[in-house]
Subunit: 243 residues, 2 copies
DNA sequence: GAGTGGTCTAGACCACGAG
DNA sequence: TCGTGGTCTAGACCACTCA
C-alpha cells in the first residue's frame, strides 16, 4: 500500500473528493468549469479532466456535455435479490421507482437460441424494461419469453415479470450468471452513466419442471448503486435436525 | 445505436481490434510502440494512448510499463460457483492453477465487526488467497474466520477453505453479495490488470445453524475472465401466493 | 543506456446545451 | 450566441524495464 508520490491528477481527485464529502460542493451542485478548475489547480485542462475521470469512475461526479460536472446525489441503493423469486426480485428496489416496459415480437437470433435453447427463428416476445427514479434511469432489463408462454396481448402491463409466473408451469430451476464489465456505449447513454463506471450484468435463465427455458433475462445494473444478493439455505438433513 | 462519426480513438481501437482478431497481432505478442503506432495512424501520442485505453478496458491489451503493449492470451474462464458449496467453489477453476495462502492473526476492526457480527477487537484469523496461472495472478480472496473456529496452527495448509467445513458446525446459510466496480490501485497492481478493467466483488458470509457467522470471504475476480453463477432449485410443492 | 510507457503542458477546434 | 465539455496536437520530461 505504497503511495510515495501522488500524481497531480490523483492529488486533485483526492482534494475534490474531500471537498465533496466535506460539503463544500453539495449534492446536485455544479462544479466550477473544467477550465476554471484547471486554473485553480494550476494544471492543464487535460490533466484536470483525467482527475475528474477518476471521480466519474467512482460515481461521485456526473459529466453532462455542454452543461458541466455535477456532484451526484447520494445514491439510492438497489439490491437485486437472486434466487429466482420473481416477486422479490424487483420489490427490493427502494419504493418510488417508475418502471417502463416496451414489448416487441422477434425471431430468435443466434444468441437467443443458445440462451433459451430454442430453434433458430422461433417466435419470442422481448420486453425491454427500464426503471427510473426522478426521470433518471436506474437499470435496464431485456427479458425474452417464448411466444407461446407470453400473453398474446401486444401491449403487456408493466407487471409482466410478476404476472408471468402465474401463467406458466411452476419454475423448477433458476440460473443466474453474474459478471462485471464496463457498459457498452449504448448502455452508458441509456443509463446516463460514465463509460468508465462498471456495471453488474446478470443473465438469468428460468427453467420449468420439464427443463424448458421459460424466460431469459439480461439485466444491467450500474455498479455504483446496485448489488446482487444471493442467499442459500443449505439442507441440513444429513445431520440430525434440531428439535 | 447511432455512430455517425467515429472519433479518431474509436476508429483506431476498432482497427487494432480487427487486426488482433484477424491474427495480424498474435496472442502474447507485443504491439508496436505507442510512438510508432501514433506515427502510423497519424495522431498524437495522447490520442493513440486513449485508443489503447479502450482496448485495455476490454481486457484485449495489457500494458506493461517500460516494456510495451501486449495482446492478451485468450483468457481461461474462471467461474465462481455460488450457493455455498465451499468444495465446488474453487474446483470450478480450470485445473492447473497455483494457489497461495498467507495466514495472519488480527483483531476485528470496524468493518469486520459488522460483517462477522463479532465484538470489536475480537480475535480473527485472516487468510489472504491468491490464485495464479503461469505466475500471472488470477484472483484475490480475503477470508476471515473467528479464531476459535480456525485451527491454532500458525501456518495453515493451502486447503483451508476446503478443510474448514469439516471442522466446524455444518453451514446453514450462505449469503453472497455481488457488486461490480473498478479495482483499487492495490488490487489492480496485485492482479496485474488495468485500473479501468471492472472487477467482480463477492462478499460471502456463512452462518451455522445457530446463526453465528463462521466465515466471511471477500473475493475479487477480474471481470474479463470471471463470472459468478448461482443456481437455485425451487421447491415445487410450495406455490407461494403473492401478497 | 536505449527504449518503453506515464504524466503533463498550452494551446486549438468541434459538439452540445441552454437562454 | 455563449459557455460548457469532447477531442486532439506536438511536443516535453519522468519512471520503468531490459540488455
Amino acid at each position: 500500500m505504497i503511495r510515495p508520490v501522488l500524481s497531480r491528477r490523483h492529488a486533485i481527485a483526492d482534494d475534490l473528493r474531500h471537498q465533496i464529502s466535506a460539503g463544500h460542493f453539495k449534492a446536485g451542485e455544479r462544479l466550477p468549469s473544467e477550465s476554471q478548475l484547471a486554473v485553480h489547480y494550476a494544471v492543464s485542462t487535460a490533466t484536470l479532466r483525467s482527475a475528474l475521470a477518476l471521480l466519474q469512475g467512482e460515481g461521485l461526479v456526473e459529466k453532462i456535455h455542454g452543461s458541466g460536472n455535477f456532484v451526484r446525489r447520494p445514491l439510492r441503493k438497489i439490491t437485486y435479490i437472486g434466487g429466482g423469486c420473481p416477486a422479490a426480485t424487483w420489490t427490493a428496489f427502494s419504493a418510488p421507482l417508475r418502471m417502463t416496459a416496451r414489448t416487441t415480437s422477434i425471431e430468435a437470433a443466434s444468441h437467443h437460441t443458445t440462451l433459451l435453447n430454442v430453434p433458430p427463428r422461433s417466435a419470442l416476445t422481448e420486453v425491454l424494461f427500464t426503471t427510473h427514479e426522478d426521470k433518471k434511469p436506474h437499470s435496464l432489463a431485456h427479458i425474452y419469453v417464448p411466444r407461446d408462454l407470453a400473453p398474446a396481448t401486444p401491449r403487456l402491463p408493466e407487471r409482466i415479470a410478476v404476472s408471468l409466473p402465474d401463467l406458466r408451469p411452476p419454475l423448477c430451476e433458476v440460473q443466474e450468471r453474474v459478471s462485471a464489465r464496463l457498459p457498452t456505449q449504448e448502455e452508458a447513454t441509456t443509463l446516463r452513466i460514465s463509460p468508465s463506471l462498471a456495471v453488474l450484468s446478470v443473465t438469468r435463465v428460468s427453467l420449468d419442471a420439464s427443463g424448458r427455458v421459460v424466460e431469459a433475462a439480461l439485466l444491467v445494473l450500474p455498479g455504483d448503486r446496485a448489488d446482487a444478493v444471493f442467499t442459500t439455505r443449505l439442507a441440513t438433513e444429513e445431520r440430525t435436525p434440531k428439535p
